[in-house]
Each structure stands twice: as C-alpha cells, then as structure tokens.
Symmetry: C2
Subunit: 377 residues, 2 copies
C-alpha cells in the first residue's frame, strides 16, 4: 500500500526492508501511499490517536501500532501571551502532553511499528535528547533491543532515563561524529540495524498526524503554524500532512508554515535566503532541540517554508528564555526552552508584518519543562 | 445548581463563597448537584476534556473552565507487566500525560475555576510536590496570585518550577505544621484566602472526571481500579464518579476501588482494618505522593474502599522501585515512584486472591517520571 520514493531522482523502492537511501542515486526517501484521496479512505473513524490515520502511515495493521498513548494532544488558546506579542488569536498545541513529554512520540510510534513489522529485533543509534528517550521507550514497549551510543556525561538525566528502559548504553569519547563512526563499526560487526532515525522517512510520517489533528480539533485551520526546527521532522511532517488534507479536499488552503531556528544554528534560514552560513566551532544554544547544523532534508525544509508561504527565523537565547518565562507566568505553561522558540519567532514575524495581528497563529509547544530522571537513580 | 453538604451532619450551605467546613458542626463539605440522573443532562457531548462533564462539576459555565488541556488521558494495556504480575488483563490510565505531568491537574482546573468564579484574586497554600506545581500553573493561567509557603530547600526543582510561574514564595523554617501556622498568620494579616486545597471539595470533584473518562474510553468498566492514596483525592473522586455513573444507569456495577499506600504511611490501611497506626517520627518513603499521615477525609476513604469492595494495601519502597523499573523496561513507561505504587499493590492483591488472574485491572499512572525545572534556572 506504500512505497519508498527517492526525493531526488524519483526512483521507487518496495518497503520490505529498512532502507535509508535510494539504490540509484543515494538520495533520501519519502513515502507514497496508494490510498484514494478523501476522508472515507484515509481516516479510520472508530479509532483515536495515531491509529485513526493509519491508512496514511507506513504501517500494515492499525491495531498493531506500537503505542504509549501518543497523539490527541490538546490545543489551548494563549490569550495573555498573544496580547504580549500583539497577536489577537494565538493558540498552542501541547505536544509536551505526549507520553514521554515531547512531540517525538508521534515519530517513534510509527518508526518502531515499522521496525516490528519488519521483524527487526535490535537497533543502534545516537542516544541523547528527547528523541533518544522517546525511541528507547517505544523500543522497550515493542520488545526491541535499543543500543544507545552517547558522548555526553552518562549522568545526563536523559541518558539515565534511556538506561532506565533497560537499553544497552555505550559511552564514546569525542563528539557526534566519533559517535556515528562507533555506531557504524558496531553495526557492521554485530549485524545490528543502524537506525539513523533522522534520515529515514518513517519518523516524519508519524509527525503528519500533528496536521491531521489540528484540522479535526479546530473549526478552521490556523493562518500560521510555527514550529521549532532542528532536523525539522515536525515541519516536514506538518507540510506532508497539510498537503494530504488539501488533496483530500478536507482543507481549502494550507497554513503558512514557519520555522523557528536558533541564532547559533540557522541552516534553514540561510538556505531559504540563499545566503552562506556555517556553524561556529563552539556554537551552542539553550534551545537544545535546535542544535542541528546539517539537517539531512534541508531542501525539503526549504520547500515546506517556501511552498506554504512561510518563513524561517533565527531567535536569540535571550528571547527564548524570555518567552519561556512569560509563557509560565502568563499562561501557566511550563515548557523546555526549545518549545518557547516558536513564540520568539512569532514575535519577529509579527513585528515584520509577516503575521497580521488578527490572524490565527498556532505554535507547537514541543517539549515539557521537566528533566527526565531514571527509575534507577 | 449545587450546594455544599456537610459529610458529617448533612447541613446544607450555599456555594457563594469559599467554604472549607460546616457552619454547624465543623465537618468537611461535599458537593451535591441538582441535575437529573442520566447522560442527557450530565454530559455535554460537544465538549472534550473536563468541560464535557461540566453539569456534574461545581462550576457555573463550562466554556469558562480554567483549562490547560487536562483530561482525556490515554488508556493503554500493559501486557508485559500484567504477565509479570500474573494478571491477564492489566491497563493503565496515563494521568502523567496531563499538562503539568500529574493527575492533580483535574483537581486544579476545577478548583481554580471556582476561585475565579468567586472573584478571588489571591490564594496562599503550602507549595511542594505535584499539587503545588499544578495549582501554581492554573492560578497563573487564571490570573490569580499564588503565594506559596515551603519548608523545603528552595532549590528543590518543584519549588523552582512554582517560582517560575511568577508565584510569590515564602521560605519557612521548620516543618509542615510551622508552614501551616505561617500561612494562617499571613492570611489573617493580609486577607488573602487560605486555600487548604486538601480540605475542600472542589479538588476532589475534578478527580471525578477520571471515572467518567474510563467509562467512555472502555467497552466495559474494569473489575478493579488501583490508585495511590496520600490524601486520597483520586480515590474519592473515582468513588464519587463511579457512583454517579451508577445513578445515571450508565454503569451496572462499580469497579472495586483499591488504595495503594506506603509501609511508612498507612492510615487508610489501619482504619479499614480497625487497627492502630501512627507514623514513625522520621517516617519517609520514595513514593513522595504517599507521604500523608492524617488524610482529612479518612472516613470517606474507608467508605470508598469498603462500599466498592476494595482493599487498602501498604507497599514497600523496594517494591515501588522494582515496579517503577519493570514498567520502564517492559512497557517503556517512565513514571515517578508514587505512580508505580499501584502495581506493587496489585502484586499483593493478586497473590492474596483479591484480584483474579482473568479480571480486568486498571491502574492510574499518576505522575510523569520527570523532575520539573524552572524557566528561571
């Protein structure tokens, strides 16, 4: 019912094994479905959560989704923060209410379901941040061994949380590249699957459900959607989701999709404006989810912004910290710094006139304010 | 549409101001509604979340609920932990997916809505733990000043999170009693409302929605529901909720409601068995949500267990830590220790034969595994 299609040369591949790249040109793969447009075929109305959209996910059997209750996250209005931003209609979708506290769970649920349907018993990947926690939890749920490689201090709370799921952890001296090399060696020697979640299409497909839910939760689609962009799976998922809703005739127009990046990491801002950008040697940001200098699907991110009429904006750590604090004080929502980046971006977009003060803006609050702890600590 | 009724002498009071005790005998108050039984009058079908059950909540206007998107938490099956416990049908309701990461948000939403409807502008209460975080967030959302008193180290992450909402914090030297005395003094001097959330009925009413949702989410009610009990608002809320569902004719029987307490804090276990119990001078437990030696509504807690056919069970810290770890390893769910107490209790109840191996058991996973951090830290 679905195939993997090269995003560069268009070559088609069957989905019977885990594939990251095009056999012909090495490009990354997208997923295409053979499901007739319209809600009749694309939505399973008796289901909630991600299962509801199973015909448009790369999984064979909706009932067998590896689920921890992800999705169906609330949308709330942010009247006080909106007023502070000069926006009359500001809403937030609380992705921080997902079971591991971050939007990643949509991607993990789909990705790990694919792994299980393909009969894969063990995977290795870099394990840090919200994605590592989420993937480790879903692998535990599915009975798949998760082998995590990390170069940070193992006392880091998210690494402890990952270890708490029973994952096997390997400490690597050095940086992210050293870690990737160690994983490649390990997988070659052991035959364990090298997951490289940021390159595959499955994770992004899970993020599509963010767009589907927005349509079903609101009377009308927002004019603007602002999301944080590191590797950009939520932006790409939103774009794919809203395009499908247009095809189905369920939506008449696409919201403008805007990317919030960090002043320290702005590859998409540069690509969108055709300017040169390189990360500083010791670049860093408070908004750890935005730490990505080479997103694998940069061209697609540019298309998502450009074709939807959206922008990419770099925000400062000061602005992130400011809006994180104001969100807590004015609305009672405690989120991690990365999740406040879209508010900082909305401030710039409103000031520039890219967002009108009477337009409806929806931001994704992508991660909860809490730091994970381990059941073993 | 509702009155405050003394749980001891039955005297009725109107709800036009914030009242903790019976004017006549000093007993605690429950809420009674003048809403005809049956779903037609008691459920607002066009709403989700807590608003759906507004006719059975002590609020005047469903649309004006102070909400952060609480409720509608997922129910997931726990097949692997069930097998480890010898239970063929074990489910969990993920209260940890509420916006502040704990079941408390149901209570806070209702409580703070009442405060706003009564025109209250500032409240003071002891501020620690998940309840403090939740109340502070909902007060921020409602524009009500929250003044927190704490005797713990102010670097405690939950106190930092509370401060992060802009709450005014007072550090008290001494223990819980010293804190309560300081609050009483402060409120007398300033006219600020002394909230004492653990004594009022509003918080418990919010917890009723836990029961309503279970009925609407499952094809049939579970045979057993196991919840952690400190002051016991979730047990009391469940009991009230399931009783109303019986009155409505929507449920034919009530699940047996079981309480998970700690070996170090077991006032309900003792009261249920008519034995004497007193907390040790330095009693403590890993399951911090169970640290309550004198729950204000102990008699009602006894009734909830007894009349539903349930038990109260004291669990050890070792068992709590064990099931917290096994839940992470076997199902990928990372929860705080308190949330694992119902699994430790279910183990005892299954071993004793109080729960049959083919009966459906639902546990509340009441709090997320994460430690809050402050936007200011």
């Amino acid at each position: 019912v679905f195939e993997l299609v090269c995003d560069r040369c268009g070559a088609r591949h069957d989905a019977s094994h885990y594939r990251l790249h095009c056999d012909r040109c090495g490009g990354l793969l997208d997923i295409e479905y053979d499901v007739a447009p319209t809600v009749e075929f694309r939505v399973l109305k008796d289901f909630g959560g991600l299962r509801r959209y199973a015909p448009m996910l790369p999984i064979g059997n909706a009932a067998r989704l590896v689920s921890l209750g992800e999705g169906d996250t609330p949308v709330v209005s942010l009247p006080a923060v909106g007023a502070a931003l000069g926006l009359g209609r500001l809403s937030a979708k609380l992705e921080c209410c997902n079971p591991t506290g971050a939007f990643k769970d949509r991607g993990s649920a789909v990705e790990v379901t694919v792994l299980r349907e393909l009969g894969i018993e063990a995977v290795a990947d870099i394990a840090g941040g919200n994605t590592g926690v989420s993937l480790a939890c879903y692998c535990a749920r599915a009975g798949i061994r998760f082998i995590g490689f990390a170069y940070e201090d193992p006392r880091h709370p998210q690494l402890q949380a990952i270890a708490g799921t029973g994952a096997e952890m390997h400490r690597i001296e050095g940086n992210r590249e050293a870690c990737a090399a160690a994983i490649a060696d390990f997988c070659r020697d052991t035959g364990v699957l090298n997951l490289r979640y940021s390159r595959n299409a499955y994770f992004i497909e899970g993020q599509k459900t963010f767009a589907y839910e927005i349509l079903e939760q609101l009377d009308a689609l927002p004019d603007h959607v602002v999301v944080p962009v590191g590797n950009g799976s939520l932006l790409l998922g939103s774009w794919r989701g809203f395009r499908e809703l247009l095809q189905d005739g369920r939506a008449a127009t696409m919201p403008r999709l805007h990317a919030a990046q960090s002043a320290a990491f702005q590859p998409l801002v540069a690509a969108l404006h055709g300017t040169h950008w390189r990360a500083e040697p010791r670049a860093d940001t408070l908004a750890v989810g935005l730490r990505a200098s080479e997103p694998p699907r940069l061209d697609a991110l540019v298309s998502a912004c450009r074709e939807s009429g959206g922008q990419a904006v770099a925000v400062s750590d000061n602005a992130v910290a400011h809006w994180q604090r104001r969100l807590a004080e004015l609305e009672g929502l405690l989120v991690e710094p990365t999740a406040a980046a879209p508010l900082a971006a909305a401030e710039i977009l409103a000031r520039r006139g890219d967002i009108g003060s009477d337009e409806h803006v929806l931001v994704a609050l992508t991660g909860s304010y809490k730091q994970p702890t381990s059941p073993r600590s």
